[in-house]
């Protein structure tokens, strides 16, 4: 049986996650309980959702630094709107998603129209979204809406008293939807083509401008959705929240086996990237004696490992192609 070499990074990610989980299990058997599994999904729900958007952006060869700020803005926007207006919560959520999608689309348009690197355009977007959040409020505002309370308490009791929360399920659904979008639609094919090279994509007949706008709009939508989930998770809106989440999301995407130059990767891998990072944190909590800074060092090492692995694979496949 031959396996497509493109699958190696994905299989490695899943393998590392399973082996890591098994090692943790040997030391702390309770880590396999449904409670821990449920919490792993719930705690990382917002990161997983935003990482799906980031995966699409990175697959296209771009980068989106604004998502952490957009999440913070979303939380603040929801909290302020709920406090100051009588609008129903679902309507506010829809408004928010429209705003963040439009924000992403505007950045995509700028990237395309100005032919500037996505890095610096989304850096400006990062400042703008964070600044907009500050302008709405500088305090942490609690969300006391019954609709949000209902989502917060929506969970399905798994055997073993583990809680599979609605936001945890939402993350899995979003990942699956993202995978379908990336691997089974025309838009997804355009994204991969763009990641392979703008010139070739244009020659293939991809509408580069429209695709770029849609990619960043999708990332904005995911960031908005992630913001909703984060505000449900924390029950508040705070403009200083989720600073640096964009870099955590990028790290999750890379650990998930997506190549940062774009054009190759799997959305499912990102889920395992997020879960692997969550597992490290869970292990540290279980252990109790290790300090939190080890999380950062281990994540850095994992990043390096995956990048080296991808480099090696690329060289290997290039070698194989040259020989064939």
């Amino acid at each position: 049986m031959t396996i497509n070499p493109r699958l190696y990074p994905l299989l490695t990610t899943i393998g590392i996650f399973i082996v890591g989980y098994f090692l943790c299990y040997l030391q702390f058997p309770n880590i396999l309980s449904t409670r821990v599994v449920g919490n792993l999904l719930t705690d990382n729900a917002y990161l997983g959702i935003v990482a799906v958007g980031m995966t699409i952006v990175i697959l296209s060869g771009g980068i989106d630094l604004s998502v952490g700020s957009v999440i913070a803005f979303s939380g603040v926007f929801i909290a302020v709107m709920l406090r100051d207006t009588d609008l129903p919560a679902p309507l506010i959520i829809v408004m928010l998603l429209v705003i963040t999608s439009a924000f992403g689309a505007a950045m995509g348009w700028l990237i395309h129209a100005l032919a500037m690197p996505a890095f610096i355009v989304t850096l400006a977007g990062m400042f703008l979204a964070r600044g907009a959040a500050y302008m709405l409020t500088i305090d942490s505002i609690a969300i006391t809406d019954p609709f949000f309370a209902a989502i917060q308490n929506a969970y399905w009791l798994m055997p073993g008293r583990g809680r599979l929360t609605l936001i945890g399920v939402l993350m899995v659904v979003v990942v699956l939807a993202g995978a379908l979008l990336a691997h089974r639609t025309r838009f997804g094919a355009s994204v991969f083509a763009l990641g392979g090279g703008e010139q070739t994509a244009r020659l293939m007949g991809v509408n580069v401008g429209r695709t770029t706008v849609l990619i960043y709009a999708f990332s904005g939508l995911m960031a908005g959705l992630s913001g909703v989930v984060f505000s449900v998770y924390t029950g508040s809106g705070y403009p200083l929240a989720t600073v640096g989440t964009e870099l955590t999301a990028i790290a999750a995407v890379v650990i998930g086996g997506t190549i940062l130059t774009g054009g190759a990767g799997y959305v499912i891998g990102t889920l395992f990237g997020v879960l692997t990072m969550g597992l490290i944190q869970t292990y540290l909590v279980f252990d109790g004696s290790l300090s939190s800074w080890w999380t950062k060092i281990v994540i850095g090492m994992l990043l390096l490992l995956f990048i080296l692995l991808q480099k090696g694979l690329l060289r290997l496949t290039a070698f194989g192609a040259a020989r064939a």
Binding site: L123, A251, I297
Partner: protein, 340 residues
């Protein structure tokens, strides 16, 4: 000289306009007085507080000129600060302390440089590794605490004055002038630009691009270590969590505001320094002018957008077209005048 001055004219104008704007709201902004030991005034404050970003921007300019980016500088600041605080509290002398901190910065730069130049990892990702892991390393050194010290000689670097001028100001000015002279009075600057424009071509032309790249990242690490020393000496303590946090973005912004393209090639250290001053003037000016500091980020974003539009390769073609059109009309008019 005139040409390089011409190149940074837009930045100088922006800075002047900003200073004028702040003065409009806060008339005392440009006043400087001498209180017997040191100069005091908002301008002096701006010059002092811009030290970390300006120092980072010196190294960042070189990295960006090679078409790279160094996201790890803020973290390297924290590492260098942690090393310095650790060394000074465990009884090393000041020279040894500084040497150790600078060595830490150089080592961090060497690591980044090797990942980029030898293994060929994209600069954003290569430096992202150290950015994530580095803060953990800094916390490992300080053991998660804020290491404080009371060595006056070391604190002088952060808050001392020479002839009434804050020492950090002198340090960043000297660093910028030294590096700029090194780049422009030798062929180094040219080699860096060549590497940034086309690494493969410059390697074929005989430039040792690998060594240049590693050296550039080491220079960035060194500058970051200097900035970390200043920040640590200023607060007399090393805070592994917050030292230099997100300063890499400010440094990149300063370089871009300074008219340097993220696509590599031509660079101007003077421009980046003015960029750093612009950022600090905004930060200080917003507070002094009585605006809530919440507006800071939105104004920054607007500024970046304006600069992006000015630098856009798509629009610059249009500008060029307009310019030639106008000059053609002018010559045609002049010719007509001569004919009549």
């Amino acid at each position: 000289m005139r040409r390089s001055l011409q190149r940074i004219t837009p930045q100088l104008l922006t800075l002047a306009a900003l200073v004028a704007l702040v003065t409009l709201f806060f008339p005392n902004f440009i006043s400087i007085s001498y209180d017997g030991t040191r100069f005091v005034g908002p301008i002096v404050d701006v010059l002092k507080r811009s030290a970390p970003v300006a120092l980072l921007a010196v190294g960042m300019t070189l990295v960006i000129a090679t078409r790279g980016i160094d996201l790890s500088v803020g973290t390297v600041m924290a590492i260098a600060g942690a090393v310095a605080a650790y060394a000074i509290t465990s009884g090393f002398g000041l020279p040894a302390t500084l040497a150790l901190a600078l060595l830490a910065g150089l080592a961090a730069g060497l690591w980044n440089g090797c990942l980029v130049a030898l293994i060929g990892i994209q600069p954003i990702v290569a430096t992202l590794i150290l950015m994530t892991a580095g803060r953990g390393i800094a916390q490992l050194i300080t053991e998660g605490r804020i290491l404080t010290f009371s060595n006056n000689d070391f604190a002088f670097i952060g808050s001392g004055t020479v002839y009434g001028i804050p020492f950090p100001t002198i340090l960043w000015l000297a660093t910028a002038i030294l590096v700029a002279a090194l780049m422009r009075r030798t062929a180094l600057g040219l080699l860096i630009e060549a590497t940034g424009i086309n690494r493969a071509a410059s390697a074929l032309a005989g430039v040792n691009a690998t060594v240049i790249l590693i050296a550039v990242y080491m220079a960035s690490g060194f500058c970051a270590a200097l900035a970390g020393i200043v920040a640590t000496a200023d607060i007399r303590g090393a805070d592994a969590n917050n030292a230099g946090l997100w300063l890499e973005l400010d440094a990149i912004l300063a370089v871009v505001i300074g008219g340097n393209s993220l696509l590599g090639g031509r660079f101007s250290i003077a421009g980046a320094m003015i960029g750093a001053l612009i950022i600090q003037t905004i930060n200080t000016g917003i507070v002094l002018a009585g605006f809530p500091s919440e507006y800071n980020l939105v104004i920054k974003a607007g500024l970046v957008l304006v600069i992006l539009v000015m630098q856009s390769p798509n629009l610059s073609a249009d500008w060029f077209y307009l310019k030639t059109l106008i000059s053609e009309q002018r010559t045609a008019r002049a010719e007509r005048k001569e004919a009549s």
